[in-house]
Symmetry: none
Subunit: 256 residues, 2 copies
């Protein structure tokens, strides 16, 4: 679809409120994100957009600027502005919240688990803080050895509030599967990655010599409303696992 139709003031569906540069920005943004405008489609020149919308070019640029920063459109001086081509999906979906099961599936490896322990316990002080528990609450703990194509890959020790996972024994394959079924899938997580030398116990489980380097990943996952769903400590084999993440720059030229 040509972008000019989007700018046509007759089919203005979005709320008109706010400054006019914001209206224009919202309009372009939603047209791009909804796929109404195909990637690669050129936008009309700024001067033309200005004329069509009865705005000044400065104002048009103010509307387009954030789209450039967000990577929705690309501008090249002398050439013009086009809707950004969609990056290959694999790369795009990285740095995104996935479970071990999903992660391995993406890498084309078969994942499996060996149960090391699961049950309901009284929380450790650390768990109480991390999960936001009150005195008397208990936690469900799940400890698994994770395998990829039958190779031990990681040890995963998860703790969840009991009311979110009342019965750890119901977890068959993926923990996230259960969470999602109950409408408890986290949408946000904070992850801390560090390196450690494996202790005797973990090294034995992973089948590597004691003292070998391992990736220690601590993850706290949150529900949309901010509640903590899960606090997980994992140890990955350093020689066999790469944690891949895609990073993006913030707003144009901003650093935080």
């Amino acid at each position: 679809m040509d972008v000019r139709e989007i700018l046509d003031p007759r089919g203005w569906l979005l709320p008109h409120g706010g400054p006019r540069y914001m209206q224009l920005r919202r309009r372009l943004e939603s047209a791009i994100e909804s796929g109404q405008i195909a990637p690669g489609t050129p936008l009309p020149p700024e001067r033309e957009i200005a004329e069509m919308t009865t705005l000044s070019r400065v104002t048009v640029r103010k509307a387009i600027q954030p789209l450039v920063a967000a990577g929705l459109v690309e501008q090249r001086r002398g050439s013009g502005t086009i809707v950004a081509p969609r990056v290959a999906k694999v790369e795009q979906s990285l740095s995104i919240l996935t479970s071990f099961t999903e992660d391995m599936a993406r890498r084309g490896r078969k994942s499996a688990s060996v149960w090391l322990a699961r049950g309901i316990f009284l929380p450790s002080p650390e768990e109480m803080i991390a999960l936001g528990l009150a005195a008397g609450d208990s936690v469900s703990r799940i400890t698994r050895l994770r395998l990829a194509d039958d190779d031990p890959m990681a040890i995963e020790r998860a703790a969840l509030p009991c009311d979110i996972l009342p019965d750890p024994l119901t977890v068959e394959r993926s923990l996230y599967e259960v969470l999602e079924r109950d409408g408890n899938r986290p949408v946000r997580a904070l992850q801390r990655i560090s390196a450690i030398n494996l202790n005797e116990e973990d090294a034995a489980l992973l089948g590597v010599p004691e003292g070998d380097a391992g990736l220690r990943i601590e993850r706290t996952s949150y529900l949309p409303e901010g509640r903590v769903v899960e606090f997980t400590r994992s140890v990955y084999r350093g020689d066999a696992y790469d944690f891949v993440a895609e990073l993006r720059l913030a707003e144009e030229g901003t650093r935080t």
Copy 2:
């Protein structure tokens, strides 16, 4: 210190290159991040800044805008602009592309570098692939020991195409600063994190025993048009550095 002294054109230390709004922005940014201006200090009114710098108010606003977005300053209509009070908003904008310098600033630590090597070389086969070089092209290599508050923290080995960084000796503080000045700041990066046991050389540089666990971070950074800017291999001390990332669930692609 009053902000007016910062704006005084007599003490202009930073590189003058680039558009004037960028010069002003860099100047304010560095003054704030280095703590020269105390939090809460008011900035002069935009009109006054414009007058002092012989810029128009539009241009001054363009310089201040990113600082507002980054949370370095706060603006209130009718009231004015002040340097933002330092809140530990460390966790807010994670999973965003930053340099070591910026990363440390965010953690409230002073970063420094020790040069280990820099110069122009013929690329290794790996670098040729990673950087997309042709036969005969050469690479600029920068190897630095990174310090946080005078503690060795990481070894950073960066390789860039020669036409992006023709002279590695011009890099003074932050590599990204130079890239940004030349309009080569990456907007996207792929990062692989793994764990290794430090070899003798790296362990010595980092001041830890050989065999200690280290975080190995491999980063490939891209320009908006997809060209590779930088291929960097870093080794972080496992006992002193946490790589923190915020993850989001795939759904709801709202980016702004």
